[in-house]
């Protein structure tokens, strides 16, 4: 079931979240259409990661609505500021249409590389095992990890693990890919190869939201740059505008401290 081309893949409205009295997100609205690549930038504590994690409900927002491919997230807010999931199955179905790549890779330590990649297709999407394995090999080849199928995560370097994580994310053919600082935990030499991989995915027309610190990458790869500051969107626009001379002074200050 694919989203209509007019229907945004992601529609988030009024996402608000506090942690123990501290307001972290103050009502963020964001849309993403098919094929959009959105780079989300901001300082530490700006709320950008929290916002991303609200989109697949790893964090429960205190207020707001989220719709993936037109389907609304099954949330209800009770008066006490807490969110309740009204339909666990619908929630899982929603999450099944997204994929997340984590800063710390989060490959399942007790599974080999190939098992990591086929786990969701087989156990969530009901893909027959043999077909999933074939597709997994193709994906591992695509991310440059062919031949590592039988390896264990802890035998791999950070960059290798992240590439497997990307293959794992691609294996479910998601409508929306979420990248939470995918290169922040990598050695500088490894950052390049993962960024190149993400760039290739963008060129293929994947719909992606990328929280990142890599400014040059954001400028070159994204179609939309969003600057989050203090839990709200400070400014957003195409990279030419955001990185150009007419960008918001606050954003320009963020780009070049000191």
């Amino acid at each position: 079931m694919t989203a209509q081309s007019s229907e945004p893949v992601l529609r988030a409205r009024g996402i608000t979240k506090s942690f123990g009295g501290q307001a972290v997100l103050k009502g963020i609205d964001l849309d993403a259409h098919r094929g959009d690549v959105v780079a989300i930038l901001g300082g530490s504590g700006s709320g950008k990661s929290t916002f991303l994690r609200c989109l697949n409900l790893l964090e429960m927002p205190d207020a707001g609505t989220i719709a993936i491919g037109g389907t609304a997230a099954p949330l209800r807010y009770d008066g006490k500021g807490g969110a309740r999931v009204t339909d666990a199955r619908a929630l899982n179905a929603l999450r099944a249409r997204t994929a997340m790549v984590f800063q710390n890779f989060n490959l399942w330590a007790h599974m080999t590389v190939i098992d990591n990649v086929i786990a969701a297709p087989v156990h969530v999407h009901g893909v027959p095992r043999a077909a999933a394995i074939d597709r997994a090999h193709a994906l591992l080849d695509k991310v440059g990890m062919a031949g590592f199928a039988g390896h264990w995560p802890r035998q791999l370097s950070g960059g290798q693990q992240q590439r497997v994580a990307i293959a794992r994310a691609l294996a479910t053919d998601p409508d929306l890919m979420l990248f939470d600082e995918p290169t922040s935990a990598l050695d500088p030499e490894r950052v390049r190869e993962v960024l190149d991989l993400i760039r290739a995915l963008a060129d293929e027309g994947r719909t992606m939201l990328i929280v990142t610190h890599e400014m040059a990458f954001a400028r070159d790869v994204s179609g939309q740059v969003v600057h989050v500051r203090d839990g709200a969107i400070e400014s957003m626009g195409p990279p030419e505008a955001m990185f150009g001379p007419d960008a918001s002074p606050v954003f320009r200050a963020f780009l070049s401290p000191g």
Binding site: N56, L58, A88, R89, N92, A93, L94, R95, A96, R97, T98, A99, M100, F102, N104, F105, N106, L107, W108, A109, H110, A119, A120, H123, V124, W152, R154, Q155, L156, S157, R168, T172, L178
Partner: protein, 228 residues
Amino acid sequence: MSGDLAFLADTTLAIARAVPVTVGLFAASAVGATLLGGLLVMAQTRRGTRECARLWIFVFRGTPLLLQIFMVYYGLAALGPIRHGPLWAAFREPLFCAFVAMTCCCSAYIAEVCRAALAAIPAGQIEAALASGMGRWTRLRLIVLPQLVRLALPAYGNELVMMIKSTALASTITVMDVTGVAGQVIAHSYRTLDVFCLAAAVYLGLTGALTAALRYVERRLNPVEGTR
């Protein structure tokens, strides 16, 4: 001298005949305690049963097993519902009472081992499972349980070793396990050191075998030694 050898031979035989009692009590209690321990862990995730489970764990970890054994064998037997109830035939048997006490006691320790292991599962593993849309049971089956077993195995193995030793307490309520037989021989013959060494050797053999088996399982579950 030959009298000594005959005595040792007789004692060894008597002790050997008691080994199945010890092993049987251990095996039954281990299964029971593991199942009950698992239930206790699950009970702690639901609001209604959480306090009951924590109370159970508190009581059975905070009191000596010997006292619990006496409580089951003597204490419960004095209660009307037990004495006249359908299970009386079972509760009259000292071996059954020892089994009940050990199961209840060790379930509390095993529950704590599992709780610690659950908490030790890196949050990222669960998040990745959530993010890929896995439902509760799928997550449990694919991610939580495999990691729980690997994390809990060393401490769980320790609990099993302690259980083998705990079976000796059944001898205080007339169960003729290895310690029961050894105590009987000591009381009659005053050959304390010899009999102690025989009995000790049996227990060391049992715990040694268990430890070796556990190490094998650990190796099978963690095929890659060391990290990068």
